[in-house]
Symmetry: C2
Subunit: 128 residues, 2 copies
DNA sequence: CGAGTGTATTAAGATGGTTAATACACTATA
DNA sequence: TATAGTGTATTAACCATCTTAATACACTCG
C-alpha cells in the first residue's frame, strides 16, 4: 500500500501522511473504506506503531480520515476536505507565483507547464 | 537587513538562506555588492557565527553568492543563477499543478491566481 | 604588523524523530 | 462472557541535527 523512501530525510510520519493523502486525493482509496490498523501498517513498514499513530492523527486533523475507537481509521468523503485542500493549494500557488515573478520568469513558461499538466481539461479558461 | 522569525520552526540557517536569496532575486542586493561579514551578521542577529557561515556556504553552493577568502562574500550576477532558478521553479510548479489536478481544482481557479500575481504582464499568453 | 575576513575543529547543550515496553478502553466475534 | 483486534496514552531511552561556544589558522588590506 505504501513504500517508504529511506533516502528521504524527512520524518517517516510525514512520508506516511503525504502518501496516504495522495492515495485518498487521487481516489486510490474509496470514501469510508478502512485503512490498515496502526499495528499492521507499522509491521508492514517495519516501523514503530507510535510513528503510524502520529501519521494517522495528522491525517485526521487535516480531515482526510476519521477514527472510530476500537474499530479503526476510515477515509473521509471528498467534500469534507476538498474546500480546505483548495485553499491550501491556493496559498502554495500564490507563494510560488510570487517567487517566479520576482525571478523574472515569463508568463509564457508558466502557461506551457499548465497546459502540459492540464492537458485533458483544455477548453478556454486561462485568459480573461 | 534581515529579521528572523522565532515562531518559524525551521533552522535559523535556512531562514537566512531564504531571506538572502529573496533579497538577491528581487534586486534588493546588487550584483557584486558585499554581504555583511560572517561575524557582523551573527552579531546583528544574535546568533553564532557558525550558523551564518553555514547559510553563506549554502548560498554559495546554490550560486547566489561567491566568496573571496580574506575579503568577504559577494552577490553573484543574475545570469549565473537564473537558469538554475527557473528550472527549480519549473519543478515546483509541475509538482504543485499535479496535486491541484489530482484534487480536482478547476483550471479557472489557477488562471485567476496567475492573473492576480502577474497583473502587470497581462497580454495574452495563457491559452494556445 | 594589526584588524578584519573566511574557514576549520572540537565539545557541549537542546530539540525532535524514533524505538521500546506497557497499559487502558473500546468493539466485534466466537 | 471471553478473546482478539482496535485506537490511545505514557514513559524512558537512543540518536541525529541544530545551535552555541571557544579556539585556531590563513588570507587580505591598510
Amino acid at each position: 500500500m505504501i513504500v517508504l523512501d529511506y533516502r528521504d530525510k524527512r520524518p517517516i510520519y510525514e512520508q506516511v501522511v503525504e502518501k496516504m493523502e495522495h492515495l485518498i486525493v487521487c481516489g486510490g482509496l474509496e470514501a469510508n473504506s478502512k485503512l490498515p490498523s496502526v499495528r499492521s501498517l507499522a509491521m508492514e513498514l517495519s516501523v514503530n506503531p507510535n510513528t503510524i499513530q502520529r501519521a494517522y492523527t495528522q491525517l485526521e486533523q487535516d480531515g482526510y480520515i476519521y477514527t472510530i475507537l476500537g474499530r479503526g481509521n476510515y477515509v473521509t468523503s471528498r467534500n469534507e476536505w476538498q474546500t480546505g485542500k483548495f485553499e491550501a493549494l491556493r496559498q502554495d500557488f500564490m507563494s510560488l507565483l510570487q517567487k517566479a515573478r520576482d525571478a523574472g520568469m515569463p508568463l509564457s513558461d508558466l502557461s506551457a507547464i499548465i497546459h502540459e499538466v492540464y492537458a485533458e481539461n483544455e477548453e478556454d479558461v486561462t485568459h480573461d
